[in-house]
Symmetry: C2
Subunit: 147 residues, 2 copies
DNA sequence: GCTGAAACGAAGTGGAT
DNA sequence: ATCCACTTCGTTTCAGC
């Protein structure tokens, strides 16, 4: 599973425009449409491309309140148990285990502060969770699709 | 700029598969392909849909190390100046101002720890930045496209 | 292995109703 | 919003590098 320079250019083109035609991508990378399609099919099969998605403004759908929550667990923590709990909460956008005092960092999206409070209560309901420390997002400074 | 129930279903379908054909989306929401296309065009024009993108596994491209950095500023901080600094650093995936002790929370992606250290130095080079507190991501627990 | 060219069916697109 | 016509794209097959 090797990704060469041309593959990277194709990935870049599809990150910029996920609905670009193969011919359009081919023009950018100097390849014909069928050649691009074959590479994209391979990149998808190899898991390099996980999928394609529409980028939707969360605020329009009523998800205007964001928070980052540090989760502190009691005693030894198995990441997998915590993962199942967090995965069952739809307001969890992403979550990861981290170094430092906290065990996990959880990114939440809710409609408003009241809604956010109920989500936090739900996170804390897990017996593994000892306590949490939250910060509310005031404004987005940078938001990128890829590095 | 109003988003009705059908629009939301279309958005959901396109978040699940950003390259779905209009006919395919139409079948899911009970509309003809041209009707779906018209709605999608409107949603894009209104900024509800910001674009379409390929979801690429960062690790395959050599972006294996992630960190979240709390940025503490000296004195009064203007979010816009900090935004310009962070935007100029390609390793910044996203960043936001937050409540609490820190002024901003920055999500970074780098190739390895050595690379991450140089990125952190670059963040701290900004005169606004007094100090930073970082956590390194150990493992992803949840990763969603949308709430 | 990879590529590009051709061909056919499917999808995108604009206009009329 | 649907229907229709026309254009463009997706996809397979084939042959050449």
């Amino acid at each position: 599973m090797t990704v060469d320079r041309t593959d990277e250019e194709i990935l870049g083109a599809l990150q910029r425009n996920g609905r670009a035609s193969y011919a359009e991508v081919g023009q950018q990378v100097g390849l014909s449409a069928p050649a691009v399609k074959r590479r994209v099919d391979r990149l998808r099969a190899d898991g390099v491309i996980r999928g394609f998605t529409a980028l939707v403004d969360p605020a329009v759908l009523g998800w205007a309140t964001e928070a980052y929550v540090e989760v502190f667990c009691a005693g030894n923590v198995s990441p997998d148990g915590l993962r199942r709990t967090l995965e069952s909460i739809p307001e969890v956008v992403d979550a990861c285990t981290v170094t430092g005092e906290a065990d996990a960092l959880v990114h939440l999206r809710a409609g408003d502060i009241r809604h956010m409070e109920t989500v936090l209560e739900r996170v804390r309901r897990d017996r593994r969770v000892d306590h949490t420390r939250s910060v509310i997002v005031l404004s987005r400074l940078v938001e990128r699709a890829a590095p």
